[in-house]
Symmetry: C2
Subunit: 297 residues, 2 copies
C-alpha cells in the first residue's frame, strides 16, 4: 500500500484532482458523502470506499478536500480515522480551514502516531486539472518531505513550505484569499469610477494587468469583473468565498489584528448573498460597487 | 525649434526626465519655481528660462510635471502661456491632476490654437531615470501622434492611449494610484495577521509576489511593507499620496461612484500624516495596520 492515495471530498477541486492521481498511476481510493459523485471514478479504476475510515485503512496518504471545517472534522476528527491511518499514515489536508482546526487535527492524529500535513491549495478547477495550482504546506517535517513529490506530481506547479507548525499553511491560505478579495474590490471600484468617467472597464484593466499589476489575479479576475458576467464559468461560488472571509475575520479577531479591508470584502459577499446570488462566482462581489453607483441593478 | 522640448517642474520625476531629454539629444529649456534646481541642468547644456511663458515661447513641446492642480494652473492656465505656445505648440501635461483640470486646460489652450495632451506617468524616480515608466495618454489625436515617439524616447517603456477626451488619461492615472494604495493596504493587513500567527511577513509576500500576484507592485512595494522601512528610498512622499487619494475621492464624488476602499486608504494616509510622517514614502500607510494590531508603535 506504499503509494496508495485516498481522496475524501469530490467537489469542484476534488474531481480533477482524482483524475490527476489516476493519471499519475497511483492506486486511488475515493470517498464522498454523496456517493453518486464517486461512481464515474470507480468506472475509471478507483476503489470506492464506504467511509472515510475505510479510506484511512487502505491508504497511506489520505487527502481531504472538503467544503468546510465542520465537514472535515466530522470525517477525520475521529479515533477510528486516526487509528486506521496509523503510524505510516499521513493526512494531507487541502481544504481552506481555520488554523485552529489544523492544530486540533494534528494533535488528535498524533495520539495515534498518524501525521498531519496542511496543504491548502490556490487554484480554480481548471488550474487544478492542469496541475498549475500553488500549494502551501506546513507540518511534520518528515511527513512533508514524503508528501511534496506527490503534490508536485498531481496538482502543484509550485510548493511553498511554511515550517513545522501545522496551522501556518492555513494562515497563508486565508491571507491569500483575503488578498484576492481585496484585489477584486479594488478593481471593482476602479472600473466603476472609470466607467462613469467614460473609460472602458476592459481598457482600464488591460493596461493595469499588463503593467503594474501584470499577474494572474488581475488578468483573470479582472477580465471577469470588466465583463460583469458572474454566473458563467463558476470556479468558486460566493457562499464559499463568504465562508473563507469569515475564517479570515475569525482568525484576525483571535490574534487581535483589525482588518478593515477584510470587513469590507466580507460585507460585499454578505450583500451579494442577500440578493440571492449563491450560484454566482465569488468575483460577483465586484457587482456591489456598480450597484452602489447606480450603474447596474 | 521643431524638436525643442521645454520642461516645467524639476521635482523628483522632473529631474531624471530632464537628464533623459538631454541624453536623447533634444534642445531642452527648463523652468522651476525655485531656480536653484535648474542650475545643474544649465551646466549640462539646458537653457534655463525665467518663466513658464518663456518656455512656451521657445519650445514646441512643453512638458509640465508639477506637484498639484493649483501649481499647474498657476503657470499654464494663462493667456500668455497659451498664446506663446501657439498653433504648433503642444502642452504635454504629465502631472497627476483632476480630470476637470485637464478639460479646463485643453479648452483654454484651444482658444489660442495650442493643443493639450494628457500624459500622466506611472513610475517612481528610478523607473523614470531608466525610461521604464508607463504612460497613459489622451487628447487631440494628431498632437498625440507627435508626442508618442518623444515619450517613448525619453521616459516610457509602454504607452496606453485612452482616446481623444483630454481628461481620460487622468481618470486612468487616478484609478491606478487608488489600486496601488488598495494593494498596499491589503498587503499590510495580510502581513499583520500572518505575523501575529507566526508567519514571516517576508515569506508571505515572497510566495504571493511569485505566484498569484507576481507583478511589480506586489514585489517592490511588498518588500518595503514586509521590512517596515518607510523613510529610506522615498520615491513618492506621503503628502503626495494623500493629494492623489483626495483627487480620487473628489472624482468619485463628482460622478457619484462610492469608493469605500478608497476612503479607507485615504484615512490611512491622513492618520500617517497626523503622526508626523510627512517625509515617509507613501508605502508607510501600511504601518497603520500594524499599529492598530499593537505590534508597532
Amino acid at each position: 500500500m506504499n503509494d496508495s492515495i485516498g481522496l475524501i471530498g469530490l467537489g469542484s477541486l476534488g474531481l480533477p484532482l482524482a483524475e490527476n492521481i489516476l493519471a499519475a498511476g497511483h492506486p486511488l481510493t475515493v470517498y464522498n458523502r454523496t456517493p453518486h459523485k464517486a461512481k464515474p471514478l470507480g468506472d475509471k479504476g478507483a476503489t470506492v470506499a464506504a467511509s472515510a475510515s475505510e479510506v484511512a485503512q487502505t491508504c497511506r496518504y489520505v487527502i481531504t478536500l472538503l467544503s468546510d471545517d465542520a465537514a472535515l472534522k466530522e470525517v477525520t476528527l475521529t479515533d477510528e480515522f486516526a487509528r486506521n491511518l496509523g503510524a505510516d499514515g499521513i493526512h494531507i489536508s487541502m481544504s481552506t480551514i481555520a488554523p485552529q482546526t489544523a492544530r486540533q487535527l494534528a494533535e488528535h492524529h498524533a495520539r495515534f502516531d498518524a501525521r498531519y500535513v496542511a496543504a491548502p491549495i490556490f487554484g480554480r478547477p481548471a488550474a487544478v486539472a492542469a496541475k498549475q495550482a500553488w500549494v502551501c504546506v506546513s507540518g511534520d517535517a518528515e511527513a512533508k518531505e514524503q508528501v511534496k513529490p506527490i503534490l508536485s506530481a498531481i496538482v502543484a506547479q509550485g510548493l511553498y513550505d511554511f515550517g513545522d507548525e501545522p496551522s501556518t499553511a492555513n494562515v497563508v491560505k486565508l491571507a491569500g484569499n483575503f488578498m484576492i478579495g481585496a484585489a477584486m474590490e479594488a478593481m471593482a471600484e476602479a472600473m466603476t469610477v472609470a466607467e462613469k468617467n467614460g473609460v472602458s472597464r476592459q481598457a482600464l484593466i488591460d493596461m493595469f494587468s499588463s503593467t503594474m499589476f501584470a499577474s494572474p489575479i488581475y488578468k483573470n479576475y479582472g477580465t471577469m469583473i470588466a465583463r460583469q458576467v458572474y454566473d458563467e464559468n463558476v470556479g468558486f461560488r460566493l457562499p464559499l468565498g463568504l465562508k473563507d472571509m469569515n475564517l479570515v475575520l475569525q482568525m484576525a479577531s483571535e490574534v487581535k489584528a483589525p482588518m478593515p479591508l477584510a470587513q469590507l470584502v466580507q460585507s460585499r459577499l454578505v450583500s451579494a448573498l442577500a440578493k440571492g446570488r449563491e450560484n454566482w462566482d465569488w468575483t460577483g462581489l465586484a457587482y456591489g460597487a456598480s450597484e452602489d453607483a447606480g450603474t447596474h441593478s
